[in-house]
Symmetry: C2
Subunit: 274 residues, 2 copies
Amino acid sequence: MTSLAKTERLIDQAAADLSPGVAARHAYRAGMAASTAGVANGCVQGNLAILPEKLAGAFHRFCQLNPKPCPIIGMSDVGNPRIPSLGLDLDIRTDVPRYRVWRDGEVVDEPTDIMSYWRDDLVAFVLGCSFSFEEALLDEGLPIRHIEHKVRVPMFRTNIACSPSGPFAGPMVVSMRPFKPADAIRAVQITSRFPSVHGAPVHLGLPGSIGIADITKPDYGDPVPVAADEIPVFWACGVTPQAVISAAKLPFAITHAPGLMLVTDLKNKQLAVL
Amino acid sequence: MTSLAKTERLIDQAAADLSPGVAARHAYRAGMAASTAGVANGCVQGNLAILPEKLAGAFHRFCQLNPKPCPIIGMSDVGNPRIPSLGLDLDIRTDVPRYRVWRDGEVVDEPTDIMSYWRDDLVAFVLGCSFSFEEALLDEGLPIRHIEHKVRVPMFRTNIACSPSGPFAGPMVVSMRPFKPADAIRAVQITSRFPSVHGAPVHLGLPGSIGIADITKPDYGDPVPVAADEIPVFWACGVTPQAVISAAKLPFAITHAPGLMLVTDLKNKQLAVL
């Protein structure tokens, strides 16, 4: 090993010691591709959307108009793969475990890096994810059904229309977690503190009112049981922008692969507004 | 009119100008007996419980253990009818529009003042009331069904046991307001800011879970319709301490008459914790 390589390794190790997010990103950068659920506990994970500059303005406005499903926690400059506010060493071209490359609304590749797809006109958006508020719910002792059952959270397309912007339009997708009513009230309070990761629920108790015909049949993720003494509680979901990007049939876009998120150095607790 | 009487009247007028609470209390002090609903908008109204000193400790502890139905916003010293923190001129013996005098669990009198019942060993407790958080809900544009229908709020005995203290024990009484789910979530957020006036709801969506068999048949107050696209939301209610005092069959106690509350000079907005 050269002296330079050794120094680089020592610097890497020091950074990894500083934040579990750094350690995780370095593993993904080296090619590891696995679900980020439970990885780098305490660190914020984000949904990724990368778009050409000429579409980025309309998408940025879409996020502005629909902050509950699309809360922006970080954004790159045009053509710049760095987002230092989310991690000093972060490189958006390599640090996500697996990407989806979209052409005309279809996934054409699922690489572990996008070095060969990167362009000088791309803009990366990182959007908040429910992992952050789930940590806050678990910290207060609230049981989260899909975590207990070791499955993905159930997600549903609703009849709640997002405010459109340019080619970006479509229904809000929501995630569902069942709670006993008193816990549902506590969950509203806890998640209200985290507006940058979807915030308070958008609905609870009456799935039919938001166009969900069968609570046992999610459109994404896995079903979980809702007990007779529980009510379903619905949060705006980061799958919304993915579904909207897919429906827009853009010539070119890149997202993360579902469940394989961007791990940042932000701390979930830092996101609490009070 | 003597010069002294004229001066007193001028002082009264100046105080009434200062706070609509003062004006209201002066009217009740003069003998007016009417519902305080909608009176002195913006001013906190309170539930009243007056007990002999030897029972006051146990009741104070009951409130401490059950802060959601029994949030204390003011308390007199033993034998002292003044509670200056709620109004500099406030006299708890005269300023409530109508009182209930209880002996052995029965109402034996409903006078407009309690000058003849006052004793040197009495302690007055003033407990927060839902009028305060209803103002906050209305201010944010949330519709309140019983106010729209000009009836009393429906209240229900639940199967939620209060934590007992001495002779004070019994089920929590809750008030019910129906809301569309998104408004119910907003109502949780708004009322969470007001812990001293019952705070966040204790339940929502599943009346049967808290022992309410028929939502159309309240135990106190009046029924209101719950639409198919609404869920019932339940808050701890200030009728709880009244019901508990009645059930305790104390030798002697005084409360306000339902709906005829103590009007204070505190402002509802002052009670917000954030």
